[in-house]
């Protein structure tokens, strides 16, 4: 078995056999359950239409996925260091690139699990509506780079920071900053600063695409610039993680 597969296998077992990994998945499904219940109630009361409910659910899945990715990313190197398991990995016959690749694929697998867990919730809130299939497809296409990008960014922080806590806090601040256009309301979003942030913010890119595709039924061809934005985000964060993991802090 290759070193990358071994690291990947360990990351999978950390998620599925470790109590902490299972607890995070449980928390994730808890968030989705609460939101799904809220959205269905609103739809039944005719406060929101079907497309809006599906859009909000897709946004929630992306946000919750990014949050879990930040938590998992913060643990990748700093957590191993705090548990005393990083040095055995760094002194094993494995290159830093292989170690990072194994951890990056492990994170991608965790996102795949979260994506699959989200499907019944999307179906529950959007069944009978016309844009459910688009929501599922665009969540994969746009949500994946956004979520993994946040995970890789926090991996880079984790490789260089002194503790899980500092990597986690920095990752959460970046995530909050990325999500801020959603928090500041539509008025400010349409201001010049709001527009600039929207145009470079991968999180906004994904959510604006969900809005355009699920609610306004726009085609993919109209979303290519946003697709490029999220793919560049993914690429840049992976490069950052690769640079940081070349010589991770191990003491």
């Amino acid at each position: 078995m290759s070193p990358v597969s071994l690291i990947m296998r360990k990351e999978h077992s950390a998620l599925l056999q470790n109590q902490r990994g299972l607890a995070w998945l449980l928390a994730y499904t808890g968030i989705l359950s609460a939101f799904a219940l809220l959205l269905i109630s609103n739809r039944e009361l005719s406060l929101l239409d079907n497309a809006q409910v599906v859009y909000m659910m897709a946004g929630t899945v992306t946000a919750a996925g990014a949050l879990i990715a930040v938590v998992m990313g913060a643990d990748t190197y700093a957590g191993e260091r705090e548990r005393g398991t990083l040095v055995p990995l760094l002194t094993a016959p494995i290159t830093p690139t292989q170690l990072l690749a194994g951890k990056a694929i492990g994170l991608a697998s965790a996102w795949l699990a979260m994506y699959l867990l989200a499907l019944p919730y999307l179906w529950a809130v959007g069944a009978g509506g016309q844009n459910l299939a688009q929501a599922i497809a665009y969540l994969a296409l746009f949500g994946t780079p956004v979520v993994l990008g946040f995970g890789y960014l926090t991996m880079a922080l984790s490789a260089r920071s002194g503790s899980v806590l500092s990597a986690l806090l920095t990752g959460l601040i970046v995530l909050l900053f990325a999500a801020s256009p959603l928090l500041i309301g539509p008025g400010l979003r349409h201001s010049l600063i709001g527009k600039i942030i929207d145009s470079v913010n991968p999180f906004s890119g994904a959510l604006n695409t969900y809005d355009a595709v699920i609610i306004d039924s726009e085609p993919l061809s109209a979303q290519l610039s946003r697709l490029l934005l999220v793919l560049v985000w993914l690429g840049l964060t992976y490069i950052l993680a690769r640079l940081a993991s070349k010589q991770p802090a191990f003491q």
Partner: protein, 309 residues
Amino acid sequence: MLIDANHLALTLNNREILKDVSLHMEKGEIYGLLGPNGAGKSTTIALLLGLYHPDRGEIALMSNAFQPRQVAVRQRIGVMPEMAGFYPWMSAKNYLVWYAGFYGGMQSTPRQLLQRVGLEAAGDRAISQFSRGMKQRLALARALLHAPELLILDEPTNGLDPRGRREIHDLLLELAEQEAVGILLSTHLLDDVERLCTRIGIIDQGRTVLEDTLGRLLDSHTQPRFRLHMLHTPENPTFPPTVRLLSWEEDWWTLEINLSQGVTLDQVWQTLLQMGWHFDEIHAQRETLEDRYLELTLSKPTKSQEVAA
């Protein structure tokens, strides 16, 4: 030569951690790396493992065949870090099998390996249930699983009871004597060093202050040492050429007396009494590794300097 490291220097975060460290080790040798806390032992080990790159100096491993940063050399080195960390949800056996995957498999069965470190009964238990001593043993099993030529062990007997310590000692001696494994041992336990090591390196303040065989290190001071209880300390003490003051604690002075020029001890005592020294007890001292270690790593002013001040 398994390790040939010369004049290593490393600065981290604008702090000069290592200034001039050298370390030389042959096959089958057990090398004790000693030094006070913060002297640079762990950093030296990190350099040998390729986790840092030295600013100055050179390291060659396995008869100049490898540099520490080469991944291939890790196939031949077993490492037991100071902190014995594992994945708590795995069983000991599963962990060893998983970790052996990096080395292309194990040289013996997990059962044989666990038996060798005294964990045969705990192989199927989750590591979360292990005591600190059991984790130390498992860390040693991890270091041994690919039958390395060089073992680098950082405080290997930490957390072990006396019986466990003895078992690990016996295992390390067996590895060195029967399988010619070179063992680099970083420890604070001088008992471990005296029992196991054939060669010693002492690091203090980022410099190698001594590197020699244990036998030569202890034999190097063939001159006898004595502790004298002083009834009255001379105001401005002078020392005959045959006497050297090594240390003092209140009224107790430790002297080294050079008998190589045909002087007898009686003559020395007479000379000291004539010079105004007043003492009522003399105790002969045996030189230990601890004495030599403290002597080399403790920087104290001389008595003459203190009196002058």
